[in-house]
C-alpha cells in the first residue's frame, strides 16, 4: 500500500532527486563551514556562475564562456558514432553467437580475452593508429561499448525458449522471419540492458578518448581545466556529463519503447 502511494503520486518523481539533493546540501555545507578550501572544492555559487557563463555566455568574454554547444556537438558526435558502431557490430554478432554454437566457438575466446583488457591500455595504440582527434575517441568508445551490447544480446538470444521458436515454426515462420518476429522481441529485455550499459560506458570512454590532443569536447574541457587549475570548470564538466549521460539513457529507453512493441510491453 505504502509502495503504491509512493509510486503513483508525484512524490516518487521527487525520490529520484533525493540523493542528488542531499549531495548538493552536503557540498554547500562543507563550503559554507569552510571545511575545504576553494582550490580543492569550489563553492556551489561559484560553480553555478561558471556554469552559466560556460553555457550561456558570449564566446570570447572569458576563456570558457559560451563554449558549451561546440563541446556538446563535438562530444555528442563522437559518442553517437562510437556507440552506433558498437550497436551495429554488437547486436548481430551477439544474437548469432547466442543461437549458433559455431559462431559462439569462433568468437567467445577472442571477445572474452579482449574484454579483460582495460580500455585505457588501448589509448596509446589508438593514438599511434589513428592519430590525435576524432578517430581515436570513436575507436575507444566503440570498443568499450561493444562488450556490454554484445554480451547482453548473446545472453538474451541464448535464453529464448526453444518452445517459442518451435511455436513459430509450426505457424509457418521460417528462420529469417522468425529472427525478427520472435527471437529479437523475446531477447529484447536483455538487448535493452546491453544498449543502456553500452551508452553509459560510451560517455565514460569519451572522456578518456578526449584526454589528449583534441581542442573541443567535454572531456577536453575537463583536461584543459585541470592544467589551468580551474577546478570550477572541472566540476561543471563532471555535472554536465552526468546530466547528459542520464538524459541519453532516458532518451534511448524512450526511443526503443516507441519503436518496438516488445520494448514497450515486456521490459
Amino acid at each position: 500500500m505504502i509502495r503504491r502511494i509512493f509510486l503513483t503520486t508525484p512524490s516518487h518523481r521527487l525520490l529520484n532527486w533525493l540523493i542528488p539533493g542531499l549531495f548538493f546540501l552536503a557540498w554547500l555545507g562543507v563550503c559554507e563551514i569552510g571545511l575545504a578550501p576553494p582550490y580543492l572544492l569550489p563553492h556551489p555559487k561559484d560553480v553555478l556562475a561558471t556554469a552559466s557563463s560556460y553555457l550561456f555566455g558570449d564566446a570570447g568574454q572569458t576563456a570558457y564562456a559560451g563554449r558549451f554547444f561546440e563541446d556538446l556537438m563535438a562530444s555528442g558526435t563522437r559518442v553517437l558514432l562510437g556507440f552506433g558502431l558498437a550497436v551495429i557490430a554488437g547486436i548481430p554478432l551477439g544474437v548469432l553467437s547466442g543461437r549458433l554454437a559455431l559462431v559462439n566457438r569462433l568468437l567467445s575466446t577472442t571477445i572474452n580475452a579482449l574484454r579483460a583488457v582495460p580500455g585505457i591500455s588501448w589509448l596509446p595504440l589508438a593514438m599511434v593508429w589513428f592519430g590525435i582527434g576524432i578517430k581515436t575517441t570513436v575507436f575507444l568508445v566503440a570498443l568499450a561499448a561493444f562488450f556490454p551490447v554484445y554480451l547482453n544480446a548473446e545472453a538474451g538470444a541464448r535464453q529464448v525458449s526453444p518452445t517459442l521458436l518451435q511455436a513459430g515454426a509450426m505457424m509457418g515462420v521460417r528462420r529469417l522471419r522468425g529472427t525478427f518476429a520472435i527471437l529479437l522481441p523475446a531477447a529484447m529485455p536483455n538487448i535493452i540492458t546491453g544498449l543502456r550499459l553500452g551508452m553509459g560506458i560510451s560517455w565514460a570512454y569519451l572522456v578518456l578518448g578526449e584526454l589528449t590532443g583534441v581542442p573541443n569536447g567535454l572531456g577536453a574541457l575537463i583536461m584543459d581545466a585541470r592544467m589551468l587549475g580551474r577546478i570550477d570548470i572541472i566540476v561543471v564538466g563532471i555535472i554536465l556529463i552526468a546530466l547528459i549521460g542520464r538524459l541519453c539513457d532516458v532518451g534511448l529507453h524512450q526511443v526503443l519503447r516507441l519503436s518496438f512493441k516488445s520494448a514497450r510491453r515486456i521490459s
Binding site: L164, Q166, A169, M170, R177, A186, R265, I266
Partner: protein, 266 residues
C-alpha cells in the same frame, strides 16, 4: 473453414474415414554422456483417421512427448516414417499444430495479436483476418480479453489462446502435449469441455498426450497405452462410451479402473 461434418460414431470414424496420419516403425534413440545411447521409443506404429480423437496415455518418462515432437517435425525419428495424408511429413508447418504444455505464447503480443500471428503473410485482406480472429476469440470465450497481454491473464486463459492460435490455421491434425496438466482441476474440466465442444463442431483430428487416465477416458475415441521406458504401444483401447460423456457415470468409472489396473501392471 472446413465444412461442418456430421457427427459420426467413433466406430464409423475409425474404419471408413481417410487416414490422416500414418506412423510406421518409428523409434528414437538419444546419445547419453559418454555411455552410448538410450532408446526412448521403439517401433511405434499407428494410424489416425480424419476426425478421430486419439489419446496417448503413459507414465511420465515413457517417451510420449518425444513422439509428439517427432509428429510435429521438431525432432527427426531415428528410424521409421511419419506420413501426413500419404506424404512424408517433413519440417514443422501449419498442417500439424501443437498446443504445448507450458506457456508458449509471445509475451510481447496481446491475446488478439497472438491469435493472429499465424495468419501473417497469408493471402487474406486485413478485414478478413480481423473477422477471423474475432470469431476465434469468441469461440474460446476471450473476446473481452483480446487486448490483454499474456502476463495479465490466467493459466486457463493462456491455454485458450494457445488453442485458438492453432485452430485458426485449420491444421490437418492437432497435436496436444499434456495441454491441461498444469491447470487446476476446475479449469482443466472447463478446458476439456471446451475442447470437446470445438471438436464436435469442427471435427478436428486430434492426437492428445496425457498421463491422466480420467482425461483419456473422457476425451478419446481410442487410447494408445504406452509401456514404461522405452516407449512402445502396449495396447490399443477403444473407448466405446457414448458422447457426451459424463464423469459421474458408472461405466466411465469402470473403464477408468480397468485402464488404471493395466497401467499398474506394466
Amino acid at each position: 473453414m472446413k465444412p461442418r461434418l456430421e457427427i459420426v460414431s467413433a466406430e464409423k470414424r475409425s474404419t471408413t474415414l481417410p487416414v490422416v496420419l500414418d506412423v510406421e516403425h518409428v523409434s528414437k534413440r538419444f546419445a547419453v554422456n559418454g555411455s552410448g545411447e538410450i532408446s526412448v521409443l521403439e517401433d511405434i506404429g499407428f494410424t489416425v483417421r480424419r476426425g478421430e480423437f486419439i489419446c496417448i496415455l503413459g507414465r511420465s518418462g515413457c517417451g510420449k512427448s518425444t513422439l509428439l515432437k517427432i509428429l510435429a517435425g521438431f525432432t527427426p525419428p531415428s528410424a521409421g516414417t511419419v506420413r501426413l495424408n500419404g506424404k512424408p511429413a517433413g519440417r514443422p508447418g501449419p498442417d500439424r499444430c501443437v498446443v504445448f504444455q507450458e506457456d508458449a505464447l509471445f509475451a510481447w503480443l496481446t491475446v488478439r495479436e497472438n491469435i493472429a500471428f499465424g495468419l501473417r503473410g497469408r493471402a487474406m485482406t486485413r478485414l478478413e483476418k480481423e473477422r477471423k480472429v474475432a470469431r476465434f476469440l469468441s469461440l474460446v470465450g476471450l473476446t473481452d480479453f483480446a487486448d490483454y497481454l499474456p502476463a495479465e491473464i490466467s493459466g486457463g486463459m493462456k491455454q485458450r489462446v494457445s488453442l485458438a492460435r492453432v485452430l485458426i490455421l485449420q491444421p490437418e491434425i492437432l497435436l496436444m502435449d499434456e495441454p491441461f496438466a498444469a491447470l487446476d482441476a476446475q479449469t482443466r474440466e472447463e478446458m476439456q469441455d471446451l475442447l470437446l465442444r470445438l471438436w464436435s463442431e469442427m471435427s478436428h483430428t486430434i492426437v492428445f498426450v496425457t498421463h491422466d487416465v480420467g482425461e483419456a477416458a473422457l476425451l478419446a475415441d481410442r487410447v494408445l497405452l504406452f509401456d514404461r521406458a522405452p516407449g512402445r504401444i502396449k495396447e490399443e483401447i477403444r473407448i466405446a462410451l457414448a458422447r457426451p460423456r459424463q464423469k459421474v457415470e458408472d461405466d466411465y468409472y469402470a473403464l477408468c479402473r480397468s485402464i488404471t489396473a493395466k497401467i499398474k501392471a506394466l
